[in-house]
Symmetry: C3
Subunit: 181 residues, 3 copies
């Protein structure tokens, strides 16, 4: 592997240089801020930079979003304290889903069989009514089925089935989820 | 699950609105500060907001405490760099225990079988002479027995037996601890 | 265990008190800065404090280095966003190696069989052309063989063989790496 020969393949950031600069130095600090706690304002900032944000979204302090123009969020979604949406590729979060504190969504991968370490960016899709618990991470290309739960500190490198509860590193299915009311 | 129908059940934050605001905008930034490195001062700030702090407690930079009025710490405890005490419920740390860098203590849970995703807050109790190593996490309701060790990056969702060494995600007992002097 | 009897054994920080203060309050904030994005400048600051930095090193925002005078980095190395080099002992990273976001390298250990909890500092050595993926951690004394890969969120407490891919907590070998071009 030779990082001086690194290539990004067909990848493009999806915004102009100045849009990226404005997001990095202005939009992102506002959305990440601990001093500003108003979710509506943070949603508005994200929308100004191209994110699709539903109604009733709650944003906690410390949220980091790489590229808001690749961020699609449904209604009544919670984005917990210090969550990191590392979305070089599209991240979609459907309605009524909760990302707890310190969750990390990683869409960037590299071709480890190539000496140029080519970038591979693959979307993450999280279905409706999921709970991604604190400190867990989701890898590139993962689809999380409707109603799935990923427990504290778990690492999901593969897709998660609907209404199933996963834990561990690597995340394993531990039991089915039943909503009883 | 419908997050627009979210309920907190019997949970209450345990302090007035203005106490919470004062902690969030004044106390917490002082305790978390990298510029201030004096542990005694940080213990004093925590005590002003209701924490019980023993003598000889060492606080490293970046410590985050959610609710100091639900924080009880013994003597000669170490709270490492970037530790996060996410204590919506009571967290107790007994004397001579070390929390290393980036440890996360999580007391908040949700009822995943309820469509209202009801909040369940459960205390964490860490006994005397324990070592919670760097980047490890402890989940809601866990009791850590006297002298137990949780190794680098481990996730403890269940209680840990005294004088036992645990590692992995989920954390597994790997051997007994013997103090030889 | 009695933390009031803590000893550091033969450990010494390797720099004068004022060098440590200058690094902590001046050098480290410059290197960690999100506002400064120029890798060459950050390499220069690290060199001023004793680090050996090769050519073409890329440093992303949020890099934390404990002791730059115990940091040796080859050519065309990438140090990802929020990486934490917790190097009380020497950390060596050879050429063409990539540390992704939020990687944690931990060189500090404690003697858990001693009631004085004596500090044990042991170096980390990462070979050429490795990829330490996002959110993974490497423990004290670990050697990472040339071309090895440590996957998303993995925890390596033991040394990694060359050209092998590891995942999980604890990290397990999952397959051999082949570079096909």
């Amino acid at each position: 592997m030779r990082l001086d020969r690194y290539t990004v393949g067909t990848y493009s950031p999806g915004a102009t240089f100045w849009q990226q600069v404005a997001w990095y130095y202005l939009g992102s600090p506002l959305v990440s801020s601990y001093w500003i706690v108003d979710s509506s304002f943070k949603c508005w900032v994200l929308r100004c930079f191209g994110a699709k944000m539903g109604e009733g979204v709650r944003i906690k302090p410390g949220l980091k979003v790489k590229f808001p123009w690749r961020f699609v969020v449904g209604d009544f979604v919670w984005l917990g304290e210090n969550c990191w949406i590392d979305n070089v590729a599209l991240v979609t979060i459907e309605s009524h889903t909760c990302l707890s504190q310190d969750v990390y969504l990683c869409t960037g991968n590299h071709d480890w069989s190539s000496s140029s370490f080519q970038l591979k960016d693959t979307p993450i899709h999280i279905g409706e009514s999921c709970w991604i618990a604190a400190r867990s991470s989701i890898g590139p290309g993962v689809t999380v089925g409707r109603g799935a739960v990923l427990c504290l500190g778990s690492i999901a490198g593969r897709s998660l089935a609907p209404m199933m509860i996963y834990a561990g590193n690597p995340a394993q299915p531990i039991k089915e989820r039943h909503i009883t009311d």
